[in-house]
């Protein structure tokens, strides 16, 4: 399973990528929408984990652009905004496969990734 983590918090995606690596999941990361789009031009990924808010572009718009480049790519969104309404509205608007709240529980993240990849 190859994962692309996209969040403007570099220390977050670096750490998360290392933790996923320890668990045998190959994870790359990007901190801007442009870098994320470049990465999926250069490499194949099974799944992208996106922050809802990324500098210069919303996670929702980035999701659309990434989906256009790689229609088979699956998505999990991360958000720091914790209300149930945000969650529901965001899922409905994006069609994201899953939403996770920050701070993310890595075992929950891996569980969602595994479910998505076996669907």
């Amino acid at each position: 399973m190859r994962i692309l983590l996209v969040d403007d918090e570099q220390e977050l995606v670096e750490t998360l990528a290392e933790r996923l690596g320890i668990r045998g999941i190959e994870a790359r990361w990007a901190t801007t929408g442009d870098t994320a789009l470049e990465r999926i031009d250069q490499e194949n990924f099974d799944l992208a984990v996106l922050d809802v808010k990324i500098p210069g572009i919303s996670g929702i718009d980035l999701h659309k652009k990434m989906k256009a480049k790689d229609p088979g790519l699956k998505f999990i969104f991360m958000t720091g905004h914790g209300s149930h309404d945000d969650f529901t509205a965001g899922s409905a608007e994006t069609g994201a496969d899953y939403y996770l709240l920050k701070p993310v529980n890595i075992e929950e993240l891996i569980d969602k990734m595994t479910k998505l990849m076996t669907q």
Partner: protein, 227 residues
């Protein structure tokens, strides 16, 4: 007059809500990084228990990361505290440099989201102004919010200030797309209400890409002079 006061109060509450929501988002990010760092240390412990050697440098990187985030959280909470205390007194002596530093600090995340750089260049002389610190912060945010959207391709808004005998001028420059914005768009009723409360005026120079906010050095004298 009453409608303007209502607009000023409404704008103030919206500003307070927007800033505290942004701060809570930033704190969430700090917590997320500390959470992952703690998890990574746990992973290293489990690896060590299984006899896998752990390079001390990896531990140092995680330790530095946590220390960085604690420093960051300290800055964020300091800004939150200053914002909260800005409503303690509705008129007081305010250090313009500190107020602009706080405004830039509070706006930082919004600037990052728009990929705009805020560049505050204070002069060597820091005048004190008797004004409403909260409404001043609110007005500076309103101008910055507009200026960031109108910063054009340069994506850089510069701030500085200069003191005159009875007033202080806060200059916002680098607003490259100001020529594309009709004059009726800014200031809105919100800024007008805040300008009235502060006895301040705002001037735009579209050709120079500049907005100047002129504050009286003592809002009490300004109000007295008007009444």
């Amino acid at each position: 007059m009453d409608r303007q006061l209502d607009t000023g109060i409404e704008t103030g509450l919206q500003f307070f809500g927007k800033m505290t929501a942004s701060i809570s988002h930033e704190i969430k990010n700090v917590m997320a990084i500390i959470n992952e760092s703690a998890g990574l240390l746990e992973d290293y412990s489990l690896m060590a228990e299984k006899g896998m050697p752990i390079d001390p440098e990896r531990l140092r990187v995680v330790s530095d990361r946590v220390a960085n985030q604690i420093r960051r959280a300290n800055g964020i909470t300091k800004n939150l505290n200053s914002l909260a205390h800005s409503v303690d007194e509705f008129q007081k002596s305010v250090d313009i440099k500190e107020t602009l530093e706080l405004a830039v600090g509070l706006t930082g995340r919004f600037a990052d989201m728009r990929s705009v750089i805020l560049d505050f260049q204070p002069p060597s002389d820091f005048p004190a102004v008797i004004t409403s610190p909260f409404h001043l912060l609110n007005l500076i945010w309103q101008v910055l919010d507009f200026a960031m959207d109108a910063s054009g391709a340069g994506k850089r808004v510069e701030l500085t200030f200069e003191a005159g005998p009875t007033s202080v001028k806060i200059r916002f420059t680098g607003i490259e797309a100001l020529t594309n914005v009709p004059e009726t768009v800014f200031p809105t009723a919100k800024e007008a209400a805040l300008l009235h409360m502060l006895g301040a005026t705002i001037h735009q120079d579209a050709e120079k890409g500049e907005i100047n906010l002129v504050l009286p050095k003592d809002v009490r004298q300004q109000v007295t002079a008007e009444s």
